[in-house]
C-alpha cells in the first residue's frame, strides 16, 4: 500500500516539475516576444493602414441574445473604432427580450428585402434591417440557435473579406481593430486569424464606450481574475503564438479571413468551445493542404470584458470553458502527436491534453494523496511543507512575472496601490482559488464524459463539407 502511495506521489511530483518547466519555457519565449513586439510597434505604420485605400475592410459580427440593456451602447461604442471601412453586423439570436426593438428605436432601423447568400447553414432568418441613420449597420434577426449559429448567420450577412467576432458585452479599445488587422496587411496571403488581449473591465471607469481609467477591481474574485487573465494572455498565448501553435482565439475578440472560415464550413454548432474549434479546424485544413498560413496573437490590441463577481457564475463559466477545451481536443484527436500537423500537433495539442485537460484531475489526486501520505507517515511533514511552499512560490512567481510584464510594457495599472493589490493577490490566489478551479474543472471533465455518451458518435465537419456548401451558391430572401 505504502509503495503504491509512494509511486503515485512520484508521478504527481514528476508531473509538477514537467508542467512548471513548460510554463517557464513559455514565459521566457513570451518575454522575448513581448520585448520585440514593443520595439516594433513604433514602426507599425498604423496611420498608414488607417488612411490607406488598400486596407482590408472588416465586418464586425456581434451576436446578441437578450442584451437589451447593453446592445445600443455596444453598437455606439463600436462606431467609435478608429478604422477605415468597416460594417457592424448585429445578429439578434431570437432574443426573448426587447433587444431588437431597442436597436430599431435607437438607430431608426428599417426592414429590407436584402437577399443573403446562405453560404453557411444556419437557422431560419426572420428579417434583415438596415439603418436610416448609420450607413454601416446591419441587423439580422433569426431564430434562436446559439452563439455559433448566430455567428454563421453573421458570416452570411458579412460583405467584407475580414471578419471580426466580438461579444456584445465586450469593449474594444479604439485602436484595437487597427492593431489586430495589421498582420493581415503585413502578410495578406498567409494570415488567417489574429487576436488580442482580453482584460477584465471590473473596477475601471468606462465613459462613452471607452475605458478612461484603469483601476484594480474592488471585488476580490475579480482581482483574482485580473491576475489570471494577465498570466494567460501575456505569458502563455504570446509564447504559443511565437512557436506557431496558438489555437485559443478568444470568442470575445478575434479576426478571421472570411474565405478561410467559409472553407472550413464556419462555426460548429454542437460544441461549447466554438471559437477554439474553428481555429483548430483552420490549422487542420491548412496543414492538410500543406499551405503556408499564420495564426497570430498580438499582445497589444485590447478588448475589455466583464468578469463574473460571484462564485456560481464563475463556476458555470469555467465549467463551460473546460468542457469546450475537452470537446475540441476530442474533435481534433487525430491531429495529436502527428508531425504532419506541425507545432500544433506536436506541442500545442499534447500540452493541452496532458496539462490543461488532465491537470485538474492530477491536482485533485495530488491533494488527496498528500493527505493520505501524511496520515500514513509515508512522507515527512518537513517535506510536505517545503513542497507546498515550492508550489505556491512557483505560482506566485509566474503571476508576478505576468503582472510585472504588463506593468513594464504599458504601465496599465497606474497607481502603486493598484499594483500592490494585484501583487498581494498573486499570493492569495494560491490559497483556495486555485484549488477551487481544479475541483471545478475536474467536475467539468466528468460532465464531459457523461455527456459524450449521449452524443453517440461525434462526426467532424471536415472542410469538404464546407467547400460543398461554398459551391452551392443559393440565395434566399429574408422573409418579412
Amino acid at each position: 500500500m505504502d509503495s503504491l502511495i509512494r509511486a503515485i506521489n512520484d508521478i504527481v511530483l514528476a508531473y509538477f516539475f514537467a508542467i512548471n518547466l513548460v510554463y517557464t519555457l513559455l514565459l521566457i519565449i513570451s518575454v522575448r516576444e513581448s520585448r520585440q513586439h514593443g520595439r516594433r510597434v513604433g514602426f507599425g505604420g498604423y496611420e498608414v493602414i488607417l488612411r490607406s485605400p488598400l486596407t482590408l475592410p472588416v465586418s464586425v459580427l456581434m451576436p446578441a441574445y437578450n442584451e437589451e440593456c447593453t446592445i445600443v451602447q455596444a453598437v455606439q461604442a463600436l462606431r467609435l473604432q478608429k478604422y477605415g471601412e468597416f460594417e457592424i453586423v448585429v445578429i439578434d439570436d431570437g432574443s426573448t427580450d426587447s433587444t431588437l426593438q431597442r436597436l430599431v428605436e435607437a438607430f431608426d432601423l428599417e426592414k429590407v428585402d436584402r437577399p443573403l447568400r446562405l453560404t453557411l447553414p444556419c437557422r431560419r432568418l426572420q428579417a434583415v434591417y438596415i439603418s436610416r441613420r448609420i450607413a454601416n449597420l446591419v441587423v439580422v434577426a433569426k431564430e434562436n440557435g446559439g452563439k455559433a449559429d448566430a455567428l454563421n448567420a453573421g458570416v452570411n450577412a458579412a460583405r467584407f473579406p475580414l471578419l471580426c467576432a466580438i461579444d456584445a458585452d465586450a469593449i474594444l479599445e479604439r485602436d484595437a481593430l487597427l492593431r489586430v488587422v495589421k498582420p493581415f496587411m503585413d502578410r495578406p496571403r498567409e494570415t488567417v486569424a489574429t487576436s488580442g488581449i482580453v482584460r477584465v473591465v471590473n473596477g475601471c471607469t468606462v465613459r462613452d464606450g471607452t475605458v478612461t481609467q484603469v483601476r484594480a477591481p474592488r471585488n476580490h474574485l475579480a482581482v483574482l481574475q485580473v491576475v489570471e487573465y494577465l498570466r494567460a494572455f501575456l505569458t502563455s498565448r504570446t509564447g504559443w503564438s511565437r512557436i506557431r501553435s496558438l489555437f485559443v482565439i478568444s470568442g470575445a475578440f478575434g479576426v478571421f479571413k472570411k474565405e478561410a472560415v467559409l472553407q472550413v464550413g464556419g462555426y460548429r454548432t454542437d460544441t461549447v468551445g466554438e471559437d477554439m474549434d474553428l481555429v483548430l479546424r483552420l490549422h487542420e485544413m491548412y496543414r492538410d493542404r500543406q499551405e503556408r498560413y499564420r495564426i497570430v496573437f498580438i499582445p497589444d490590441p485590447v478588448v475589455w470584458t466583464e468578469a463574473p463577481e460571484d462564485l456560481p457564475t464563475l463556476r458555470r463559466q469555467r465549467n463551460r470553458w473546460h468542457r469546450g477545451l475537452l470537446e475540441c481536443l476530442w474533435a481534433s484527436r487525430r491531429m495529436i502527436g502527428r508531425p504532419k500537423y506541425g507545432p500544433v500537433g506536436l506541442f500545442g495539442l499534447p500540452y493541452n491534453l496532458v496539462f490543461e485537460a488532465l491537470g485538474p484531475l492530477v491536482e485533485v489526486t495530488g491533494y488527496a494523496i498528500l493527505v493520505v501520505s501524511i496520515a500514513r507517515g509515508v512522507v515527512g511533514v518537513h517535506f510536505v511543507v517545503l513542497f507546498f511552499l515550492l508550489a505556491v512560490g512557483y505560482g506566485v512567481f509566474l503571476s508576478v512575472a505576468a503582472v510585472l510584464l504588463d506593468q513594464a510594457r504599458v504601465g496599465r495599472h497606474g497607481s502603486r496601490r493598484d499594483l500592490a493589490r494585484l501583487l498581494v493577490f498573486t499570493v492569495v490566489e494560491n490559497f483556495g482559488y486555485r484549488q477551487l478551479q481544479a475541483v471545478w474543472r475536474a467536475q467539468a471533465t466528468f460532465d464531459f464524459l457523461r455527456k459524450k455518451r449521449g452524443w453517440g458518435e461525434m462526426r467532424r465537419r471536415g472542410f469538404e463539407r464546407g467547400a460543398q456548401a461554398a459551391e452551392k451558391v443559393r440565395t434566399q430572401s429574408a422573409e418579412g
Binding site: 514602426f43 505604420g45 488598400l54 496587411m185 517545503l386
Partner: protein, 345 residues
C-alpha cells in the same frame, strides 16, 4: 539531501519574485524621472526652436544629453511646417550634429535602432537622406526596409521612385501592400515606372501595379489598363476593371461596357461595379442588359451600380422587377428597397 535542494529551490523562487518586483518598481520610478526631465528640457528648448522656425534665429548649442529632446521637438514642427521653414529646422539639426548621428545610426547593430533612425529621417523629410534610405531598402531586417520605404515616400523625391518600384518587383522580401502604399504616396511621378513594371513576368507585381495605377487616378494610365482589360489573365483583367472604374473617362467606360461580356464572372462583376463608380447614366442600358447573369455577384453589382446612376438607373431597375428570371426580380427589388431606405434617411 533531497530536502536541502528543495529548500534552496524555494528560497531562490521567493527571492527571484521579490527581486523582480523591486526591479520593476525601481525601473518605473527611473522612467518617471527621466520623463519629467525630458519634459523640462523640451519646455526650455521650445522658445529657441520656435524662434528658429519663425525668425531664423540660429539655435544655441544644445548639450549632447538634450539632443533627444531637441529632435522630438523639431519632429513636432516638421509635421506642421513646409518648404523654407522646414529646411531651416533641419539645417539647425544638421548644425547640432543630429543628422550625421542619424545617418550613422542607419548602420547600428540592433535592427530597431536602424529602423528608428530611418523613421526619424523620413519624418524630417530630409532630402539629403534619400541615398542612405535607398541603401536601407536592402537592409536584412524587414522593419528597416519597411520604414525606409515609408520614409522615402514621405520625402517624395522622384529619385526614389525607381528604387521603390524595384522593391515592388521583389515581393519575397516585402510587404506588397506597404510598398504599394508608398508608391501611391509618391503621386504622379510613380506612374511611368509602374507602367514599365506591367510588362514584367511576376504576376503578383503586375496585379499590384495595376491596382496602384487605379488608386493614383492619373489618366495617363488609362490606355495601358484598357489593354490589360482586353488581354490580361483573369486576376489582371478583374483588377484592371476595378482600376478603370476609379480612373473614369469615356474610353474607360467603353472598355468596361465591353467587359460586361467577359467570359469570367469575376471580371464581369468588377466591370459592373466599376461602371457604378463612373456613374454615367449612359451605362444604364448596358448594366441592365448584363444583369440577368448566372452569377450572384454580377447580379448584385449590376443592380447596385444601376442604383447609383440616378433616375435612369432606377427606371431600369423598376423594369427589371418584372423580369422573367426570379433571381433578377428579387435582386432589383432588394436594391430598390435599400435605396429607398437610404434616401429617406
Amino acid at each position: 539531501m533531497k530536502f536541502d535542494a528543495l529548500a534552496i529551490a524555494v528560497a531562490v523562487l521567493y527571492l527571484t519574485s521579490i527581486a523582480l518586483i523591486v526591479v520593476t518598481v525601481v525601473r518605473g520610478s527611473l522612467r518617471t524621472r527621466r520623463e519629467r526631465r525630458h519634459a523640462r528640457v523640451i519646455e526650455r528648448l521650445r522658445e529657441p526652436v520656435e524662434a528658429c522656425v519663425l525668425e531664423g534665429t540660429p539655435l544655441p548649442r544644445v548639450p549632447p544629453g538634450d539632443l533627444d529632446a531637441l529632435l522630438e521637438l523639431v519632429l513636432r514642427y516638421t509635421s506642421m511646417v513646409r518648404g523654407r521653414d522646414a529646411e531651416r529646422l533641419t539645417d539647425c539639426l544638421a548644425e547640432q550634429g543630429v543628422v550625421a548621428d542619424l545617418l550613422q545610426r542607419l548602420h547600428a547593430r540592433p535592427a530597431w535602432r536602424r529602423a528608428e533612425a530611418a523613421e526619424v529621417l523620413g519624418r524630417l523629410r530630409l532630402r539629403a537622406a534619400v541615398p542612405s534610405l535607398v541603401t536601407a531598402l536592402d537592409d536584412p531586417s524587414e522593419d528597416v526596409r519597411t520604414v525606409a520605404a515609408r520614409g522615402l515616400a514621405a520625402i517624395r523625391d522622384p529619385a526614389a521612385v525607381p528604387a521603390l518600384a524595384r522593391a515592388l518587383a521583389d515581393p519575397s522580401r516585402w510587404t506588397l501592400s506597404l510598398v504599394a502604399e508608398n508608391l501611391m504616396a509618391m503621386g504622379p511621378s510613380a506612374v511611368q515606372p509602374l507602367l514599365e513594371l506591367m510588362h514584367g513576368d511576376e504576376h503578383n507585381v503586375r496585379v499590384a501595379a495595376v491596382q496602384i495605377l487605379g488608386e493614383l487616378r492619373d489618366p495617363a494610365a488609362t490606355p495601358a489598363l484598357i489593354q490589360v482589360l482586353r488581354e490580361g489573365g483573369l486576376n489582371l483583367r478583374a483588377q484592371a476593371a476595378s482600376g478603370l472604374g476609379k480612373l473614369g473617362g469615356p474610353d474607360a467606360e467603353r472598355a468596361l461596357l465591353t467587359a460586361l461580356d467577359d467570359p469570367e464572372w469575376q471580371v464581369r462583376a468588377q466591370a459592373a461595379k466599376a461602371l457604378g463608380r463612373v456613374a454615367d447614366p449612359a451605362a444604364a442600358s448596358g448594366l441592365a442588359h448584363a444583369m440577368p447573369d448566372d452569377n450572384w455577384w454580377v447580379r448584385v453589382n449590376c443592380a447596385e451600380s444601376l442604383a447609383r446612376l440616378g433616375a435612369q438607373g432606377r427606371r431600369r431597375l423598376e423594369l427589371l422587377t418584372r423580369h422573367d428570371d426570379r433571381f433578377v426580380r428579387d435582386q432589383a427589388n432588394a436594391v430598390l428597397d435599400v435605396y429607398g431606405v437610404r434616401e429617406a434617411g
